[in-house]
Symmetry: C2
Subunit: 189 residues, 2 copies
């Protein structure tokens, strides 16, 4: 019985192993509905811009207007929604947080954070035009040259990871996506 | 209030836009708990084996013991669980469905099926030793040479995609993961 169709129904959940399953789930006593708790996907992008083909690359960052890490800088990223693709989700986040239209070029990295059951899929993208602004979840949106990135005011470890891994491959056409950087086990387990 | 900590609580959900959100969610009238419905991740692997380094590659397939597509052949794959990484999940599925220990080499493909809000992450993997058996969800587990793969009895389109894309890169060290093959829009939207 799909939950989507019965939003106002009363559910009373008990933790038990459903028939044919091999681990405990939240099962409703009234209607057998199973509330599966699944890992969540975050989709985001390292978004770049060049004034001219020879100009130095700049990076689009958003200053967070909301907790957690309000006031700190991040790349456009957020939870993937229903009925979209990973790339559509990453483009939507750039639109919502930075009022920016982006062109996604490749998958940069897949980060696993099993402690909070999160999979982050970070992409390599370009601004389609030099047009951006603070969306509802941002205080400010700005282009930074690499040396001007406010490294001490970055919101999350994975933003560091993505920016630095991007620098390793930014002139390569074909590369395998990165994973969590070595030595970050304590942050994710 | 994390749902995980109150499994037996009664929830009565109404569809409304929570504060600070921009789309309708299922919000509990009693406790403000929000039931987010998120895309789900499937993790799987194309698993190969060679009798000797020069021998022809063989592919590990499982005959499904459960619906959907009972009696049809698939690669080891299933829903990612909480508190594991994507690679751990793919290895767990090989263990559960094929009683096999695998070594994961790379991310082969990311398939998006937005119609059912599913993201499939398929890997390239090798059997660690020639040891496998039917797990609870399998009727039979077998190694097939490429030409012997039962192409007419494959369970899902994405199994076709993964096997064929694997053939394109199986001797390459570095490659970008594939996406949905061109022309499959009707299957996924
Ligand atoms: Zn119920
Ligand atoms: Zn409640």
């Amino acid at each position: 019985m799909p939950f989507e169709n019965q939003p106002s129904q009363n559910h009373s959940f008990t933790l038990k192993v459903p028939d044919g399953d091999n681990r405990e789930r939240h099962v409703c006593d009234n209607c057998e509905f199973v509330y599966y708790i699944n890992p969540k996907i975050v989709v985001g992008s390292v978004v770049t811009w060049r004034e001219t083909p020879d100009a130095e690359e700049q990076f689009l960052l958003c200053k967070r207007a909301i907790e957690p890490r309000k006031g700190y800088w991040t790349i456009p990223a957020g939870f993937m929604e229903q009925n979209e693709t990973t790339e559509e989700g990453a483009a939507r986040e750039a639109r919502e947080e930075a009022c920016a239209e982006i062109e996604i070029r490749a998958l940069l990295a897949v980060y696993n954070i099993p402690r909070i059951s999160q999979v982050q899929m970070m992409h390599v993208a370009r601004l389609r035009e030099k047009k951006f602004a603070a969306g509802e979840e941002s205080l400010e949106v700005k282009l930074f040259k690499w040396d001007d990135i406010p490294w001490d005011e970055i919101a999350f470890p994975s933003v560091h990871w993505a920016l630095n891994q991007y620098r390793e491959i930014h002139d390569r056409q074909v590369f395998a996506p990165f994973g969590n950087p070595p030595g970050t086990e304590k942050l994710v387990r």
